[in-house]
Symmetry: C2
Subunit: 397 residues, 2 copies
Amino acid sequence: MDYRFSEKFIDLKPSAIREIFKSLGTPGSISFAAGNPSPESFPVSDMKRIADEIFENEPVTALQYGITEGYTPLRRLVSERLKRVYNIGTPDDDLIIVTGGQQGIELTCKVMCNEGDVVLCEDPSFIGALNAFRSLGAKLVGVPLEGDGIDVTALEEALKNNPRAKFLYTIPTFQNPAGITTSLEKRRAVLGLAKKYDILILEDNPYGDLRFTGEDVATYKSLDTEGRVLYCGSFSKVLSAGMRIGFLCANKALITKIVVAKQVEDVHTNVLFQMICAKYIEQCDLETHIAEIRKLYRHKAGLMLSALEKYMPPEVSFTRPEGGIFLWCSLPEGLSLGEFVKRAGEKNVFVVPGTAFSPDPEAPNRSFRLNYSMPSDGEIERGIKILADIAKDMLKR
Amino acid sequence: MDYRFSEKFIDLKPSAIREIFKSLGTPGSISFAAGNPSPESFPVSDMKRIADEIFENEPVTALQYGITEGYTPLRRLVSERLKRVYNIGTPDDDLIIVTGGQQGIELTCKVMCNEGDVVLCEDPSFIGALNAFRSLGAKLVGVPLEGDGIDVTALEEALKNNPRAKFLYTIPTFQNPAGITTSLEKRRAVLGLAKKYDILILEDNPYGDLRFTGEDVATYKSLDTEGRVLYCGSFSKVLSAGMRIGFLCANKALITKIVVAKQVEDVHTNVLFQMICAKYIEQCDLETHIAEIRKLYRHKAGLMLSALEKYMPPEVSFTRPEGGIFLWCSLPEGLSLGEFVKRAGEKNVFVVPGTAFSPDPEAPNRSFRLNYSMPSDGEIERGIKILADIAKDMLKR
């Protein structure tokens, strides 16, 4: 039979990245396409021991329905850590556990936006968020990303032109896909614009813990004095991605609505992993564990940057992330991104073309995203050489 | 600051049941309000052993990102069981793992309904589903539920009056809240109407495995030859509610869209529990485990029915479920449901008023839901006596 889908879903496509992810079975292939944390970052033996203890001592709590807001000890521990590490959280704030940061992003749009309302975002930005906004009928308006964060002048222009703007979605720290960190000056300017044009800011910070060089920059949430910022975080990049535990910290009035929205999506996040997270924080040393991951990614990012410097023709530019798991390469004018990505795939090297991250996938694009957390050291060296050879070959013509 | 929420969320309230659930701390209180499975139904030691094996042998699969469709071995095992037990599944069907049945319900509405489209539902029906539909801007049209299922004449009337009807949401087996099972004749008639008026049927069957008396009735999905039925199931009532594992089986074209919708909500369902489910089905005897739960609920339902017969004045009517975890009581005309529920609460006995389950919460209501899976044997006896005494006292006036 013919199905009459909702208008918002007729044209919505699955994430290009997750589709690539599915087809990565080829032996010998090198993937720079994933957004996955390194498996070395999973504290397997601690989790195993903690899961065992929970099944032994508190099985009913882990296996019975929980409350939508999340497992109370975890909410308290996450709030305490946010305060301690990021100076986030005021007496007017509350925190909800969500099924991965993705759900926090989607729920924020769901409770704030009517169909046709505008979400401002960096261009490029995280495809999962962009698709979530699209799936809810929001209109995406992209604002160019510069080396030190969003283009503030263009942002004000966009705010002037879009009176239905409800919030700015931003990944200010080790941005996905660009690896860029927004400067403190720009964060202050953006907050000023948010106030002037009365919009909210959804600050997505899944990589914030993964700084491996440079100095921390204050989060939007810690700079916010008005309840204008929703802060979305996640354990996906520091404990496990498969466990789907994220959190959203914002003004109580916002969290109250988000609880209702979450209740109708999945009732609550799976309890066992909330308990594992809480007990991991209580019993183990999360900060030392994170320091180990930073060390690992410092090494891998360093390898990738060295290989890019060594092999890549100077016409190809790339960002130098201070943390996180991605960097962003741009081909020079005249080279076709489509051809480059296709030829890389033929050599079994996978990257994600910039079009996937654009609020306007039809716009011209010459950039692609590279991930360094998943490939091995050898793969990084070999893969970048292959990409460089393709770029050189294309430049010859 | 003042927040401008989306129109759909301005008035949406949290589920009355989950709010009651949160306030159930009072020692000595008796709750017939929950929708929770009995903790005795959790196969704790098998799960503990299986989790341990997974952490030992396949930790990276469990802790890394998975694919949106779900853990492949679990999808296969669930499909096989659906075919074997319910004769569900055709070569045109596919199956997705969702974060509890709740997500399957919400995603179906999300991909099918534009704002203002109509969802038909039984009156009364599951509050979680009704709120999900409301949260997406769908219009609810309730159709009265009779002793043998939905009122077919009223359903046709509703279909005639609502050309924007997209699907019928139904819990045909051991309905929540009413405990009623729709007869085979009515299922055939409803399928005929669905065809005549070209709507889909979302068959929600979280309790179908829990028949403790009487004969199985064919599912809508197994009677469907056109791809008109989406079948939503769950492990919440047979393995664990806290693990949030459900599934949706439907025509491939529908599942393809639902995968996209799920991807933007939570990327995928937590992998460890998908693996635990799969290995439980492979290694243990799920059917014997379910037979034990049926025995337990047969006993508890029997106790509650006996207590109702023994204590309740004949003016109060109640349903006689053949499975599941709920029954439905109705006060006689003239008695106030609000007063009854309030007085019960004052005696520390909690029931959910029928208003919570109505597509129109403002409509007059004299019914309430009783759950027998959670209270102990003694609580069932004592609690029903307290409720009966209140009803008798109210009848005296």
